[in-house]
Amino acid sequence: MTGTHEGAGAVTVTAAPGTAPATTEAEPAPHGLGVSLPSADAPAKTQGTFPYAADLWAEGLLWAAILRSPHPRARILSIDTKHAAEMPGVRAVVTHEDVPGDAGHGRGTPDRPVFAKDEVRHHGEPIAAIAADHPDTARLAAAAIAVEYEVLEPVTDPQLAFEAEPLHPDGNLVRHIPLRFGDPEATGEVVVEGLYRIGRQDPAPIGAEAGLAVPRPDGGVEIYTAATDPHTDRDLAAACFGLPQDKVKVVVTGVPGATADREDPGIQLPLGMLALRTGCPVKLAATREESFLSHAHRHPTILRYRHHADAEGTLVKVEAQILMDAGAYADTSADALAAAVSFACGPYVVPHAFVEGWAVRTNNPPAGHLRGEGAMQVCAAYEGQMDKLAAKLGLDPAELRLRNAMATGDILPTSQTVTCPAPVAELLQAVKDAPLPDLPKDAPQEEWLLPGGPEGAGDPSAVRRGVGYGIGMVHMLGAEGADEVSTATVKVSGSVATVICAAVETGSGFSTLARQIVQETLGVEEVHVAAVDTDQPPAGAACHSRHTWVSGGAVERAAKMVRTQLLQPLAHKFGMSTELLQIADGKITSYDGVLSTTVAEALDGKELWATAQCRPHPTEPLDDTGQGDAFVGLAFCAIRCVADVDIELGTIRVVELSVAQDVGRVLNPAQLRARIEAGVTQGLGAALMENLRTTRGLVRHPDLTGYPLPTSLDAPDIRIVKLIEERDVVAPFGAKPVSAAPVVAAPAAVASAVRAATGRPIGRLPIRPQAAALTPLS
C-alpha cells in the first residue's frame, strides 16, 4: 500500500537541517486552511452529472403523488378514496387513517399532522398520497379522490389571530416574548415612530423537493432524499411510522440548493408510508407548484417601532412590537421570534428596551427556517428607524449609526454581554469610506443601465441616486439551550484520509472545509468526505453555521487524535514529544529537520481511526421577560447600498452593494466570497421582488414566473470592501458564519438607499414601485 513511494520502509535522515523538502513543483495544489480549495463536486455539478434525489432510480419503483388542499381552511366531512384505489395502475392510497404511529410531527413543536384529518389549515396541506406505476396515473388518481369540504372563513391577518377562534388545538399563539430591559419611564428628547411590513420570502431552491423510499426486508425503510437535518427527519419519520429508530434510515443525496430546511417530513413521511404499504420503492419528484406550497417560507412580519434619542443622537430607549405570521403550524417559529426580539434594537447600544414579540397561527402558508429568520425582519425596521432619526436630527445616517455602534463588552437587551468580537463601527466605517461608484455624468461615454433594465423605460432626467446603510447581526448555532453537538470520524489509510460526519453539504462548503482541516492537520493531500446517512452519529441541521463550528471542530479533534496516533511511535523512537514533529505535504519532519519521513511510511500499512465530538458551551432559554444568555456567538455585517430610482415610475436599480463583514477567520477565500455574494443577492431579492403573494390564504402564483428571483441583470456589483479577521476565541477556528449576515443586512441597506433617493418612508419589503415613486401630491 505504501510501496509506491521510493525508499519505502526506511526513515531517511537528511544532512542539512532546516532545508525544506525540495518539492518545488510548478504549481502545488492548494490545500490546508486559508486557501481557495475548490469544491470536490464542482466539476460534476457544472457538467450536469452530479446525482440529485430527482435522478434516483430503483428497479420496479412506483411513483407517488400527494393530494393537497385547495382551500386555506375547511372542515373535511369525508374522504372517499374508492375510485382512486380502483384505477388501473394504482397500488396504494394512504390517508390519515393509515398513519401507524404518531399523527403529528414538526420541528420544534409536533403540531402538524402527516395528513389532514378533520380540518385543513393551509392551502396545499397534504390530505392523501397515492403510489402508482406511472407519475401521471398517480396524479390522476390523486385528483380522483373525492374530498367533501365545508369551507370555512380563513384567518389570514395575523393581527386578527388573537381574537379569532382557535385554528389549532394548541391555540393561535405560538409564542409570546415580552422583553423588558432597563427603565420603562426613560424618554428621549427626540422620538421617531415607524411601521414596517416584511413580505413572505420563499427559499425557492433551484431543485424542487424529491425523494425515494425503499422498503427493507427487515420491515424497515430507507429514505433517500436531500434532507438538511437527517437525524431529526429520521426521528420524526420513525415516530410516525410506529417503528424503532434503527428501522428507519435517511440517506442524504445531492442537495440542489438549501437556504432553508429541505425535504421536510411532508415529503418523506408519505413516501415512507407508501413504500412500507406496497413493499416497492416509491419515488416522488415535486412539481414547482408543490414545492412552493409545501416548504416553509420566511415569516411575514409586522413591526411597530418607537425610538427615543437625546439631542446628540445617542439612543435612549427602543419600544417595539413584533408580530410574526407563523402560518398554520409552529415549525421553528419560536426560535425565529427569539432572534427577532433579541436583535430588535440591532447592533446598537440601547440602555432601555421594551420589545413585545408574538408568533401567531393563521391560515397562511407555514413559515419556518430561512437564512437569518427573525433577524432580517427586525434589521429592516431598526435601520428604517435609524434613518428617520438621522433625518429628524439633521445628522448623516452613517454618523448616527457610528455614534451608537455596539462593541465587545456591550450588553444586549437580553442582558447577555457581547463577549465575541463585535467590530460594528469598523465595519460601518469601511463601507462608508469605500469609493462611491461613478455617476453617469462622470462617465458619459459608457452605456448606463437605468432602472427598468436595458430595454426599459428609464429616463435619465427622472433618475435619482441614493446611498443607504444596513448593519445586520445574526447568532451562531442554535439558541436558548439547544444541545449543539456533532460527531466526526477521521480515518487514514495509505495516502488517503476519509471524513465521516453526518453534516450535510448544502452548498455551504462544509465538505470542502472538512478536507482542508484534515489536510492542515494530517498533511494528507487526498481527503474524501463520506456520504451522509443516519447510521452515522448526528451532527445537527445544516443551518446557523453549525457545521463550520461544531462539525468542523469535531473533524479537527478527530484529525488531531489520528495525528497523535500516527506520531506517537515515531516520537517515542526518537525520544521527542509529538509537538516537535510537524506534518506538511505528506511528509513528517522534526523541528530540527533531522527526522524526515512520509505519512505513508509512518503508517506502515496500518489504518488509523479516531472519532471525536465537539459541543460548544451551553446557552440558556430566554426567561419570561426575554432575559438570558441565549446565544453562543454573534456575527455582524455592514452593507452600503447605492441605488438609482426612477422617481416617476418607481423602478429601482441597485447599482452597487459594498459589504464589510466580521468573519472571524477566512478559511477558504473563494468560498467565503461566493457565500457573501449569494447572501447579498438573496437579500436583494427580499428587498425588491421576492414575495409569495396570497389572496385570502390562497397562494396566487406558485411558480417562478409569478415569484421572480434576482437574475444576473438584477444583481448589482457586489464589492467586498473589508473582511475583519478577529478570531472568536471560543469557536474552533475562530471562524464566524458568513451566509446569513448579508441576507439580514442587504434588504435594510436597499430600503435605506431608496429612502435617501426619494425621501419616502419605505416601510414595506419588498419595495413596491408605487412606494418609491414621487407623485405630484406627495
Partner: protein
C-alpha cells in the same frame, strides 16, 4: 408530432388530426403542458416551415412570417425597418425565451402582457390566416385580440402585414425590476408622417392593447409635420395624462348622485406610470 414543410401542409395536417395543436416556439404552450393544464393529443410543429420564418416587402408593407423569432426581430436590420417592433421583441423576456418565442405565438397566445401586441395595435397591423384548401383571409390584429374574429378550426396564422412608415417609433415598458420581467404597463407609439398621424397603444393594463384615439388625434393636430416636429414639454405631459386617463378612467359617478369612488392607490400608480411612459414615448419619437 408532425413537422410539415409548408403552410398548406400544416393546415392539411391539422385537418387530418383535428385534436392536434400547432406549436411554434412553445414558450407558452409547453409551460401549459408541463404544468398539466394541457395534454394535446398531437402536435403540429411549425418550425420547419421556411416560408413563415422570414419577411418580404409588399407594396409599402412588410409581410412578416408568423414564425419570426423575437430574437430575429430584435436585430439591427429589422430594427431599421420597424423599430417599434424590434424594441418590443428585445424587451420580451430573457434570451432563451426570445430565441424560441415567435411573433405568431405572441399573437395567438394574446397574453395581456404580450410585448409585441401594443406595437402591432399601434401599427394597425393585419394578420393573414391560412385555412383549408389554400384559403387565405386577412384580419386586423386588433379584431383578433378583441375576439371580434376568431381563428377557426384548422386555421394557422401565416403572416403579419405591417405598414412601413419610415418614421420614429418607440416602445417603452415598465417592469418592477432591472432583469427581464413582465410589463406592468407598456406604451407603443408610432408616427405616420404621410397621414400626419400619431398612433399609440397601451399594453398590459387591460386584456388587450388599448388605443387612446382622441388623445392621438389631439396631439397629431398640434404637431408641425412639415418642419421641426418638436412639442413643448407641457404638451407632452398633457398627452401623457390624456392617454392615461383614457386607458385607466376614473370610476363612473353612481347614478344616485353620491360622490364617485376614487381609484385605489395601485391603479393610481398604474395611471401615473402610463402617463409617464406615453409622455416619454412621444418625446423620444419627436426628438
Amino acid at each position: 408530432m408532425t413537422l410539415p414543410a409548408s403552410l398548406d401542409e400544416a393546415v392539411a395536417a391539422l385537418a387530418a388530426m383535428p385534436a392536434a395543436v400547432p406549436v411554434a416556439g412553445g414558450t407558452d404552450l409547453m409551460a401549459a403542458v408541463n404544468s398539466g393544464l394541457l395534454r394535446p393529443a398531437a402536435l403540429v410543429g411549425l418550425n420547419r416551415i421556411s416560408e413563415i420564418r422570414g419577411w418580404q416587402y409588399q407594396d409599402g408593407h412588410a409581410l412578416l412570417g408568423a414564425g419570426l423569432t423575437l430574437a430575429r426581430m430584435g436585430r439591427p436590420d429589422f430594427a431599421a425597418l420597424i423599430p417599434g417592433l424590434a424594441a418590443a421583441a428585445r424587451a420580451a423576456g430573457p434570451p432563451q425565451i426570445r430565441n424560441a418565442g415567435t411573433l405568431g405565438g405572441n399573437i395567438v397566445t394574446a397574453a395581456p402582457t404580450g410585448d409585441t401586441l401594443p406595437v402591432l395595435a399601434a401599427l394597425e397591423a393585419t394578420v393573414i390566416i391560412a385555412g383549408p384548401g389554400g384559403a387565405r383571409r386577412e384580419v386586423p390584429v386588433s379584431h383578433l385580440l378583441a375576439g371580434m374574429e376568431m381563428l377557426r378550426p384548422g386555421e394557422i396564422v401565416g403572416f403579419v402585414r405591417v405598414p412601413l412608415l419610415h418614421a420614429p417609433q418607440t416602445f417603452l415598458k415598465a417592469t418592477g425590476r432591472t432583469g427581464p420581467g413582465r410589463a406592468a404597463a407598456s406604451v407603443a407609439l408610432v408616427l405616420d408622417p404621410a397621414r400626419r398621424g400619431v398612433r399609440c397603444a397601451v399594453g398590459a393594463v387591460a386584456m388587450m392593447p388599448l388605443r387612446p384615439l382622441e388623445a392621438e388625434q389631439w396631439v397629431a393636430s398640434l404637431i408641425d409635420w412639415d418642419n421641426d416636429r418638436g412639442l413643448a414639454p407641457e404638451a407632452l405631459t398633457a398627452f401623457g395624462d390624456y392617454v392615461a386617463a383614457a386607458c385607466i378612467p376614473d370610476p363612473a359617478p353612481p347614478e344616485d348622485g353620491t360622490e364617485a369612488a376614487t381609484l385605489p392607490p395601485a391603479a393610481l400608480h398604474l395611471r401615473r406610470t402610463v402617463a409617464a411612459l406615453a409622455r416619454r414615448a412621444l418625446g423620444r419619437a419627436l426628438s
